[in-house]
């Protein structure tokens, strides 16, 4: 009984993955019988995953070799150990029979033992080498995979990100890749040693006694059938458990987030009743799932024990018939124990590998996503941008079927101001997406200084614009670095100058560490308005020819709002700007107003033209800005 739990203690293994060790079993792979996520294209994904291992061919070969050697050493040792026992027994029997001068041959036993110690140490060393090499291979493979995913994400169009939640992408790039890493690190070598062990043990057992081998092997299909039956049943309960758990989580989430509403409408009792109902269902399926899957191990160990008893009995009889030797029984018992272990292990590894391949498939799905339209082959450069923007017959829709913009023609002269108005959620980002070429237009042309934006490199095109949005983006670093994000290699003076121009210098200096203040993860250590000032400073530093701005709305208090407005006015001077406007003064002064509703640009023109037209804008203006008795404003 030497190796049969070779791989059980690995700290980061989760309970579900841990195969049970144990003489006679009893400890169990708790997760056995849980449903496994399956890959759609197992073989293709597997092959592809293997290509990532190719650069490490030599190391993997070494892992394979060391694994085999170490396993073989471990497999031979019980038989050799058995020889020592046999020698002991023989000597003893002779003594019993009173053979004169009979004694136990300790020289022989000593030799065997020294040989065994050597084998064990070698086996351990090889096992260590194997794990050691694998650590490097597995982690580097995963490093490369992660890197590839991140680089791929950088090449994907925004369409991809807008259609998915961040959580979903993160889960693929982090959790799924991590899953692959754990499998490479542990399950792969486990699989190799398990297979080698199974084959080796069968051979060793056959050399001892074909009859007894048959007995052990016959018990196998028995456990197979038992496990399959129970696993099927337990999967049913696990699914039920998963479902109830999902419902419960949903209910808890709703009740907690809607806590205020629950209370104010006096629904506490009802919410508890619903909870108790789901909780009871969860309990029912949970204990059944737990119980049924918990039956697998005792059953397996029982079947195993039947083998054990048969080996002891049949072996004992065979020894009395002198067909085999006593040490062989000892070896055989160890072998039969070693035998069930890797089989159970292989079964659970099979599950692990399936879920790993499913993970790999999800990662590869990202890698296979369609990338941005390639850059123009001979990209043009606008050396000194003037900021003239022209839309010629532009049509666009996020969905091929439904065009949001049809045949739009606008002509914005250098330094002009375009106001975009419309109710919240009307699709203000659409225009940004098109100007910056985050999305491709369906037909027509967008020209900047007379040049088709598709003839420019995206990087160049985007450097022509500055962007200040409501959903400010700051990262977990110092204020200085956040402003300097606007232009690589900006000097300290330039940063401070930009902060001053954005009316941000003062508040930055009131912070404990000034420009070195580190914004925490949610940037909750400065206010929403201050965040906006920082992004304005960032845009000022970038010094672009054209601007895309989002005017502050109600989330900012009045005083900061005035400051933001001043900073924005300063920024807009002499630049072509597209403003998502909320204030009437901006709208009325705009050279062009684009009216958006439900994602579409429904009207365009200046204030007077649109009023004269008597459409949506006029309606909106009359009901809001001039209607009623006295004062109205724009939301």
């Amino acid at each position: 009984m030497s190796r049969d739990s070779k791989h059980q203690t690995s700290e980061q293994n989760s309970g579900a993955r841990k195969p049970g060790p144990g003489p006679g079993g009893g400890f169990g792979p708790m997760g056995m019988g849980m449903p496994v996520q399956k890959a759609k294209n197992f073989k293709g994904t597997l092959n592809r995953l293997i290509t990532y291992l190719k650069p490490y061919k030599l190391q993997l070969l070494a892992v394979l070799l060391t694994a085999i050697i170490s396993t073989i050493f471990a497999i031979v040792s019980p038989k050799i150990m058995g020889k020592a026992t046999t020698k002991l027994f023989e000597g003893l029997m002779m003594k019993l029979r009173g053979v004169p001068g009979a004694k136990i041959d300790f020289d022989y036993i000593g030799q065997i033992i020294i040989f065994l110690i050597g084998l064990y140490i070698l086996s351990a060393i090889f096992a260590y080498i194997q794990q050691y090499i694998m650590a490097g291979v597995a982690q580097k493979t995963v490093y490369n995979l992660r890197k590839e995913v991140e680089e791929k994400l950088n090449r994907l169009p925004l369409k991809y990100f807008d259609a998915r939640t961040h959580g979903e992408i993160l889960s693929r790039a982090v959790n799924d890749v991590d899953n692959i890493s754990t499998t490479l690190q542990q399950s792969l070598t486990q699989l190799i040693t398990s297979v080698v062990t199974i084959i080796g043990v069968i051979i060793m057992m056959l050399t001892i006694s074909p009859l007894m081998t048959l007995i052990v092997i016959v018990t196998l299909p028995l456990s197979g059938i038992a496990i399959a039956k129970i696993a099927k049943k337990s999967q049913l309960y696990f699914k039920g458990q998963q479902k109830s758990l999902g419902q419960l989580n949903g209910h808890v989430e709703e009740m907690y987030t809607g806590h205020k509403v629950v209370k104010v409408f006096g629904h506490e009792q009802k919410s508890i009743e619903t909870f108790e109902g789901i909780n009871e269902e969860l309990y029912q399926s949970a204990w059944k799932a737990q119980f049924v899957s918990g039956m697998i191990m005792p059953l397996m160990s029982f079947i195993n024990n039947i083998g054990y008893v048969l080996v002891a009995v049949v072996g004992g009889i065979l020894v009395t018939k002198k067909a085999i030797e006593i040490g062989d029984i000892q070896a055989f018992i160890q072998y039969s124990r070693q035998f069930s272990q890797p089989i159970a292990q292989t079964a659970s590894i099979a599950n692990v590998i399936q879920s790993t391949i499913a993970s790999a498939e999800r990662v590869f799905e990202i890698l296979d996503e369609q990338e941005e339209v390639p850059e123009a082959s001979n990209p043009k450069v606008i050396a000194s941008p003037k900021g003239e923007v022209k839309f010629e017959h532009v049509s666009f829709g996020y969905d091929e079927e439904e065009l949001l913009i049809e045949e739009m023609n606008i002509d914005v002269k250098s330094g002009q101001k375009v106001a975009i108005v419309g109710p919240t959620g009307a699709g203000k980002t659409t225009l940004i997406n098109l100007l910056m070429r985050f999305y491709e237009i369906n037909s027509g042309k967008i020209l900047i200084d007379g040049m088709d934006t598709r003839d420019l490199k995206r990087e160049h095109l985007r450097s022509l614009f500055g962007m200040v949005l409501q959903d400010t983006w700051l990262f977990n670093s110092t204020i200085r670095e956040n402003i300097a994000y606007g232009r690589e290699g900006a000097t300290e003076d330039e940063i401070v100058a930009a902060a001053k121009a954005a009316n941000a210098d003062h508040f930055i200096r009131t912070l404990p560490d000034g420009y070195d203040t580190i914004l925490n993860e949610e940037a909750s250590n400065i206010s929403q308005g201050q965040k906006q000032l920082l992004t304005i400073a960032r845009a000022i530093l970038a010094n672009p020819a054209m601007l895309i701005l989002d005017e502050a709305t109600s989330s900012v208090d009045t005083r900061t709002e005035v400051q933001i407005q001043k900073a924005m006015d300063h920024l807009m001077q002499g630049r072509t700007s597209f403003v998502i406007a909320h204030r009437l003064s901006t709208i009325r002064n705009a050279d062009m107003i684009l009216v958006m509703n439900q994602g579409k640009v429904i009207e365009k023109g200046n204030h007077e033209e649109l009023l004269a037209k008597g459409g949506f804008y006029a309606d909106l203006y009359n009901s809001q800005f001039t209607g009623g008795n006295s004062v109205k404003n724009v939301g």
Binding site: T9, I109, H259, N279, F302, V319, E459, L469, V631
Partner: protein, 575 residues
Amino acid sequence: MIKLIKFLKPFQIPIYLVLGLVLLQSLSELYLPTLMADIVDKGVVTGDTDYIWKIGGFMLLVAAGGMVCSIAASFYSAKAASGFGKLLRSRVFSHVGNFSLHEFDQLGTASLITRTTNDITQIQQVLVMMLRMMAMAPMMCIGGIIMAYSKDAKLTLVLAVALPVLVLAIVVIARKGIPLFKAMQVKLDNLNRVLRENLTGIRVIRSFNRVEHEKKRFDEANWDLTQTAIKVNKIMAAMMPIMMIVLNLTTVAIVWFGGIRISNGHMQVGDMMAFIQYAMQIMFSFIMLSMMFVMIPRASVSAVRINEVLATNADISDPKVPVSSTDKKGHVEFQHVTFSYPGAEMPAISNISFSMEPGKVTAIIGGTGSGKSTLINLIPRFYDIDNGKILVDGVDVRDLTQEQLREKIGFVPQQAILFTGSIAENIRYGKEEATIEEVEHAAEIAQAKEFISTMPDGFDAVIAQGGTNVSGGQKQRLSIARALVRKPEIYIFDDSFSALDFKTDAKLRAALKRETGDSTVLIVAQRVSTIIDADQIIVLDNGEIAGIGTHRGLMESSEVYREIVMSQLSEEEIA
């Protein structure tokens, strides 16, 4: 962790049963080698085939008995652990149900959700493991030692050497490995953060052409993590080989010393074979135990988080002798009310006094952080005030039960929250016994009828969790309808029109005016246009009242109000 043990009390009996059954199971496991030793020593030595068969049969019985015990243990442990989870979950949920907004702020809603769901599931799983494995390990260990000792006391000295070596090896490796595991977690979080920032800021990154910069940042975090992971795994690579060497050398030592003892006639061969098996069982139980010690810290983190919830007591409770409601309806009065959030240096609102009458509209306006939402959260007693009094219908809110108080109020929160269920159910949330006519009427006033009728199932259309299948404006309108169907004495609108388009906003306000005729209405707003016709406007600035009056009056008297109006409207539009 220990504090949670009291929740195990109802499951005492199954737990004792589990322990007893596991003991029996361990005994059966331990008994098998002894029987095998008998086969060898008595059967094989004497060539007694019948004896071998007899003992063999007995072994099968013992094994079957072990299995039955084990399955029964599995049954009771599954019941006990799941029952424990159920009980704990329901305790935590109802406990959280009593929390006021203060406790929600303190612990965080997201965190409370995880604590009620994942953390409890985590503990439940560990409990199963503990009942099954952890109970078994010490029994196997002690039982094994006893059996080994009874077979041959002197030979147990081998174990006395081997066990400390094994424990030492585990401790040394764990000492080196665990800090690295922790470091790895931190680095993984770090990588996660960089990637998350990349995703949320994708437009900014691309528009500022900082893709290369971000790539570098990611690569640094990635490489850092990889380095630590390699290091950890290289250390852990030593774990198993070392354990195997200890185990195997112990076996070898037993054979050697056992051989000597056999030769001297102190021991029999079968006993030695049994002894080897006991030694293995003992050592495996140590390895199992060491694995358990890895799991416990994880579970105890969860346990601490759950205890934190249970230890937090709601600071708002109903009065022992509630005052019965008076005949007055719709009167609200603030008398010198001061309130600060716990731990805050400055009060969120201070010395607020005003009153509201039925049939009158009161509006509150002010900048962010001026205390508007705080103020209205005090009326339904979401928080208790520090100083002063809030009277509803002439009674201090603290002298009414929360139910009595909240019955009077129709509250429309800033964030429109809907629940899973049909539209009608969501509206009926305000008044459970509302007839379909009442529901439809409320929807009509809230300007929701039009979009409801365009939905395939109308009022029976189902709202998905989080209300993801309706727009922000639609959610707000349903949330208004929910308050309307209640026909309360007091309406509270917390900036509830923000997601509506201009036309709907105007229509809704006109309809509301008719509907809320005799009730008291309190509106919090950001836009001046929303509140311009209110009977009284309260201007809040830094938690204090900067002016009360009508629009016209305030335009003359209040500097702060003028500033707010100016910032929203250009000069020419102010009448």
